[in-house]
């Protein structure tokens, strides 16, 4: 990441907001479209004040139709605008699946490069916020299999700013996932001024040599908490924040695993067919003989995310204690 002289402390909501603001300021082709992003300023107040400053032509409160939100953005992008489409909650992205997977991701390939689709689809995802069955889902595994798409899921304000800036300038469609739980919970130093972080580059959030923990989103913070706890017990844990899910950073993962020889993959999303599956399969292909222990996946249970009652929610979510326990076991292995 380009380091800039001074920094500001902000949370993840502010990081998204300031990045969108800068993009609107610098590029007249940038247009935001979504539900309640105008007068309401988005349900998390991310776009508050944008309508007044940039006007209804650039801050478009759309009809309640996700297929159109994404599909119209695809058309805008093909015609040279830089649309940033918002899906109010990731749970409601399904009606846009046809436009994302069938159209946006295929535009360049289908036309052999005659048309391209430079657009961003932003959406808040994830649980632990009492969002019940329809405001808690993780969607990355439903999209990461799709050629033509890029997927980003940052965990910190600094990463959000750098990656969202890159995503907006990327020549291809990017699905940008923002974990709801981190929106106000996570604060951090953010370099002032413009900087970018390349898509497809993971970040070692904590170096270590005893074992490697691979995660992303909210759980990065839980994993770091657990990893620091284990330092006290003499276990050195390296925590890798994937940040990008497609493309994914093989180099950083392999380097770490060759060093630690033990891997724990942690994600909130359901386990079966989740992101962890591909990471594990890749490691077996490319680092089989570097592994001292079976790759362990600590993931969401295979049930719909996520019951409303806090008892159900906390059963679904993985605490840093459970993560620490899994790390201990793997370290002992």
């Amino acid at each position: 990441m380009a380091v800039s002289v001074s920094t500001t402390v902000m949370n993840n909501v502010e990081a998204v907001r300031t990045t969108l603001y800068d993009a609107l300021k610098t590029d007249p082709n940038v247009i935001l479209l979504g539900e309640d992003i105008g007068a309401r300023g988005n349900v998390f107040l991310i776009t508050k004040g944008f309508l007044e400053e940039f006007g209804p032509q650039r801050i478009v409160d759309t009809p309640l139709a996700e297929g159109a939100i994404v599909g119209v953005a695809v058309g805008m992008a093909m015609e040279g605008l830089r649309p940033i489409a918002e899906i109010q909650f990731a749970d409601f992205i399904y009606p846009a699946f046809n436009q994302i997977v069938g159209e946006a991701a295929k535009t360049r390939y289908r036309s052999n490069g005659d048309y391209t689709c430079p657009m961003v689809i932003r959406t808040p995802y994830g649980g632990g916020v009492r969002g019940a069955l329809s405001h808690s889902v993780s969607i990355e595994a439903l999209f990461y299999h799709v050629p033509g798409l890029k997927i980003v899921a940052p965990s910190t304000p600094a990463d959000i700013k750098g990656l969202l800036t890159t995503a907006i300038e990327d020549p291809d469609p990017v699905l940008f996932l923002e974990h709801k739980k981190t929106y106000r919970l996570i604060k951090g130093e953010v370099p002032q001024g413009r900087y970018t972080i390349p898509l497809g580059k993971a970040d070692v959030k904590k170096p270590g040599n005893g074992l490697t923990v691979i995660s992303y989103g909210y759980y990065i913070h839980q994993a770091l908490e657990a990893a620091h706890a284990l330092e006290a017990e003499g276990v050195s844990v390296e925590v890798i924040d994937l940040r990008s899910i497609r493309p994914m950073d093989k180099t950083t993962i392999l380097e770490s695993v060759k060093k630690t020889r033990k891997v724990l993959i942690v994600h909130e999303d359901n386990k079966f067919g989740g992101i962890g599956a591909e990471i594990s399969a890749m490691l077996v292909e490319d680092a089989f003989f570097d592994l001292d222990a079976p790759i362990r996946r600590l993931c969401g249970p295979d049930v719909p995310p996520m019951g409303y009652a806090h008892t159900l929610e906390s059963e679904y979510m993985i605490s840093s204690d459970r993560m620490a326990q899994a790390m201990r076991e793997l370290a002992k292995f």
């Binding site: 309401r40 139709a65 009492r130």
Partner: protein
């Protein structure tokens, strides 16, 4: 009619009114339903302010439409595919106050076993279809129920499918109406048009004034009525349901209502509408309007009204206390009913 309700001359004597065959008992029942809905709504917001529940959504302003629709609905026969803002309708067809409060507290005994948001009920025993939070997704299901009714030749049954003005923009809404029209199914599409989709005003939702103007696009009868007026609402919904039950096919009808509260407790509506706007709407609040209408027309007297209010408060208080005392789901409950039996992704 709603406008008539509040005119002073109607207070002068006891004038007749078009009651569309509604008995005094039914009219009083409707008012009670409206008061109960509002009391439970307010309880939810209250419990949320007290930090006892994380979330609540209210239907204030929809009471008239829903009370009318509830009477038109044939309990034990018809199917209701409703949405989250239908508390009055749900109560009206057989959801109890205690079930409502259990949903607010996410009790293990909640109809969804504490899995869904408050008021996202499921109650097959009374024909209430499991509520989806996904806007318009239930409209296709409603059509499937109507298809089954027609396929089995079940006489005098119909499906009532309700939704908001925002829902009409969804592709699945269009697909549902078109499918029902082509198959000439026994279903009523009832739009509760409160002019807002969270913050988005209906003029940003569609380029026409009334949702019912879309009925001809499907070859259906369409009608817009005053959803603040329980009697007008009953009349419109009943005529449409009767058409459906008689095999005369689907209808798209629309009641114009108000939304007095924020979208939910998570929404601060001051960011997108002025207090004056809301105050202006409140002047036509269906609950006090219908109270005075019934009193003015000698259907109800003040004393009985106070009695009713007390009675409802008692009912809701008891329901609150009982629900608050109920156990929450156990952690094991997270894993049940994903499939029939114990299916795991790996076996």
């Amino acid at each position: 009619m709603a406008s008539k309700m509040v005119t002073s001359q109607s207070r002068a004597h006891v004038p007749q009114f078009e009651r569309h065959g509604l008995s005094d008992e039914q009219l009083v029942w409707m008012l009670r339903n409206m008061l109960l809905q509002r009391t439970i709504d307010n309880r939810g917001f209250q419990l949320n302010r007290q930090g006892k529940i994380p979330f609540a959504a209210g239907s204030e302003g929809h009471e008239g439409l829903q009370a009318g629709a509830a009477v038109a609905f044939h309990k034990g026969k018809d199917i209701l595919a409703g949405y989250y803002r239908d508390l009055g309708l749900f109560l009206g067809i057989g959801v109890t106050a205690e079930e409502a409060l259990r949903s607010q507290f996410a009790c293990a005994s909640d109809l969804s076993a504490g899995r869904q948001f408050p008021h996202h009920f499921t109650k097959k025993s009374i024909g209430l279809v499991s509520i989806s939070s996904v806007i318009a997704a239930h409209c296709t299901h409603a059509v499937g129920f109507a298809y089954a009714i027609k396929y089995r030749g079940e006489e005098g049954r119909a499906v009532l499918c309700t939704f908001g003005d925002g829902a009409t923009s969804e592709g699945e809404w269009h697909e549902s109406l078109n499918f029902a029209a082509v198959q000439h199914l026994p279903i009523v599409f009832l739009c509760e048009n409160n002019g807002l989709a969270i913050s988005v005003p209906v003029r940003k939702q569609m380029a026409i004034d009334n949702v019912s103007e879309r009925a001809p696009a499907y070859g259906m009868p369409g009608e817009t009525f005053d959803g603040l007026d329980p009697i007008a609402s009953y009349d419109a919904v009943k005529r449409a349901l009767d058409r459906a039950r008689a095999g005369d096919g689907p209808s798209l009808i629309e009641g114009k209502v108000h939304r007095y509260l924020g979208h939910t407790t998570d929404d601060d509506d001051r960011t997108y509408r002025s207090r004056d706007e809301v105050a202006e709407m409140r002047k036509r609040d269906p609950v006090p309007s219908f109270e005075s209408f019934l009193i003015d027309h000698g259907v109800l007297d003040k004393a009985r009204l106070d009695e009713m209010r007390k009675d409802i408060l008692r009912e809701v208080n008891e329901a609150t206390d009982r629900a608050e005392a109920e156990p929450l789901p156990s952690s094991e409950d997270l894993y049940t009913n994903v499939y029939a039996g114990e299916t795991q992704p790996w076996r």
